[in-house]
């Protein structure tokens, strides 16, 4: 088997003064195989961005090693930069230039031939649905357009590995869908993708494999299906008037929680109807309300780490 395209071993990184260091990475181990999409999933402050910055040569780790395409990110940074592209959280484009000017500039900086750049820029503008706005200044763009341009700027060279740091944070649902479609196209083009996200759904939608990061360590890893299986499927949550009613329901696999009864479900209409019918028959009292809840990042964390996902800010406040 060929070695992984990206391999990080025991990455450590602290910020702050030598006296009061704030540890951000505490031995991160993670790999990305050729052609794979990996989602590094975790809450704010877990170390996602720091990991990506180290792998994309922007930051030196305090300890551990990271190799990309066989090159060390610290000692062979120039070679690593030839095969990667990074799209970070803050838009890496000039607001005062148009989309076309931004892309053309990036093409020249990527040392591509001028004529090739012209065609490639047109293709990318069209593919990312920026054709109509191509000659407008980026400052007038919506958040979704900016992200798409940002992504396009990273694709002029057809990189082997693309690092995408929280590509849809702050986008509305529609822009998020569009972004996912674009990302799938990039992957279909053969680019391996190292993605970070706070959203379980996003990891589920895009990734072949998910690495769960918490407090500077990768705490769980696996295919999205596998991870969700460990967490449990979606559940019907039934709210009754009293806890006694909940206790009287003898439904197999259901877990009571105060006035709420949680029943695992696959989310199909048939199953939900069966559950409601079974509950009504058992108690003789209809539940007041019901809703279907998909597992969230919180559920994943609760199950796999034993504590709720907390952001750095909350920890600092606690």
């Amino acid at each position: 088997m060929s070695p992984p395209l990206v391999r990080a071993t025991g990455l450590r990184k602290s910020y702050g003064s030598a006296r009061r260091p704030v540890r951000v990475l505490d031995g991160v181990d993670v790999t990305l195989a050729e052609g794979e999409v990996l989602a590094l999933l975790g809450p704010n402050g877990a170390g996602k961005t720091t990991t990506v910055r180290i792998l994309s040569t922007l930051l030196r780790p305090d300890g551990g090693t990271a190799m990309v395409a066989g090159y060390d990110v610290v000692h062979d940074a120039a070679r690593v930069r030839q095969v990667i592209s990074l799209t970070g959280q803050s838009a890496a484009v000039d607001e005062k230039q148009s989309a076309r000017e931004n892309l053309t500039m990036m093409g020249r900086l990527a040392h591509l031939p001028r004529r090739f750049v012209r065609g490639r820029v047109d293709d990318l503008l069209h593919a990312f649905d920026l054709g109509d706005a191509a000659d407008r200044r980026v400052g007038t763009y919506s958040g979704g357009m900016r992200r798409r341009l940002d992504l396009a700027a990273g694709l002029l060279t057809r990189p082997r590995v693309m690092f995408l740091d929280e590509p849809t944070t702050g986008l509305d649902p529609r822009s998020r869908q569009t972004m996912w479609e674009v990302v799938r196209e990039v992957v279909a083009d053969g680019t391996s993708l190292f993605l970070t996200t706070q959203y379980l759904e996003e990891a589920d939608q895009l990734a072949d494999r998910v690495a769960l990061i918490d407090d500077g360590r990768v705490v769980a890893e696996g295919a999205p299906v596998e991870l969700k299986r460990r967490v449990g499927d979606a559940a019907v949550e039934l709210t009754f008037t009293s806890a006694e009613d909940v206790a009287r329901v003898g439904l197999v696999g259901a877990t009571p929680d105060g006035r709420v009864l949680r029943v695992p479900t696959d989310g199909s209409v048939a199953h939900v109807r069966d559950v409601l019918a079974a509950v009504a028959a058992a108690v003789g009292v209809e539940p007041e309300r019901w809703e279907v809840r998909a597992p969230t990042l919180d559920d994943v964390f609760l199950t796999l780490t034993g504590h709720a996902a907390r952001t750095r800010d909350e920890e600092a406040a606690a």
Binding site: T57, S90, R120, L155
Partner: protein, 283 residues
């Protein structure tokens, strides 16, 4: 919206072959791309551009018509002060480079540059060149306004060329200091502070009054700060007068001092800027 389609992979450029780690190979391409970028950015900064055009007119009117009447420097005040206004405007414009550099340092675009196989310090070169171009335009505006108000130079073409050369050296020197501050500070407000400083530095020189009229402690500073020899050189070249309004016999030593100051500032602050730049983000 329809699902986007990426350009066909087969028809485009193949993936890069085994990479060669020679980031210096494309330094000229990188530099010219960065210069193009900075020039476009400067052109699209309406506030700054307006200021670069309005400030010279305002200062000229202020000095010639408001202060000018009360000034007695031994010659026509317009003739005396025009070189100073040139330097004031150019120096102030150059100091604004600190803001542009700070913006780049704190924005996401620097991460992209640094993650690409380019000599990312060329981004600073782009700012320096754009600053020279922008402030030469400002200089032309100042001289144009001065001409309209009645400023006349008896300089030969060669002297004009030398004067422009000294002005360029001064712009580059101030820009390098500004670049250093731009990579050093962490907020736009701090970067803007240098502009304030550069707006006042020429007043404590021989630009607008002879240093001989200042109290001794201030005169010491005025006579030994870099703006003074630069001003003396330009005034000497353009109108042939010294700060005492007497004809200058030998401009050589003053010009040498002016150029030495500029060269010194460029070397010290450019090296400093490069040093801070390479360390700031990779700690």
């Amino acid at each position: 919206m329809t699902a986007p389609t990426l350009p066909a992979p087969s028809g485009t450029r193949p993936r890069r072959p085994a990479p060669a780690a020679r980031p210096g190979r494309h330094v000229l391409t990188d530099t010219s791309a960065m210069i193009g970028r900075s020039l476009r950015l400067v052109r699209r900064e309406p506030d700054e551009l307006l200021l670069a055009l309005v400030l010279p007119v305002m200062l000229m009117v202020l000095f010639v018509y408001v202060f000018g009447g009360a000034m007695s420097v031994g010659t026509d005040y317009l003739t005396y002060a025009t070189p100073g206004i040139v330097l004031l405007c150019a120096g102030y414009g150059a100091s604004n480079t600190a803001i542009a550099v700070e913006q780049d340092m704190s924005g996401g675009i620097m991460d992209r540059f640094r993650s690409m196989p380019i000599a990312s310090a060329t981004v600073l070169v782009g700012h320096v060149v754009a600053s020279v171009v922008k402030n030469l335009v400002t200089t032309a505006v100042v001289l144009g306004v001065a001409h309209v108000l009645g400023f006349r130079s008896d300089a030969t073409a060669l002297e004009w060329l030398a004067a422009v050369g000294v002005i360029v050296a001064y712009i580059v020197a101030v820009t390098c200091v500004a670049t250093f501050l731009g990579v050093l500070v962490r907020s736009p407000a701090a970067a803007g502070g240098f502009g304030f400083f550069m707006l006042f530095l020429p007043y404590v020189s021989s630009a607008f009054v002879p240093p001989g009229t200042m109290p001794a402690w201030l005169r010491g500073f005025a006579e030994h700060q870099p703006v003074t020899p630069v001003i003396e050189t330009i005034r000497g070249l353009l109108v042939g007068l010294g700060s005492d309004a007497q004809p200058v016999a030998d401009l050589g030593p003053t010009a040498a001092l002016a150029l030495a100051w500029c060269a010194g500032l460029v070397v010290v602050f450019l090296v400093g800027a490069a040093w801070v730049f390479s360390r700031r983000r990779r700690q």
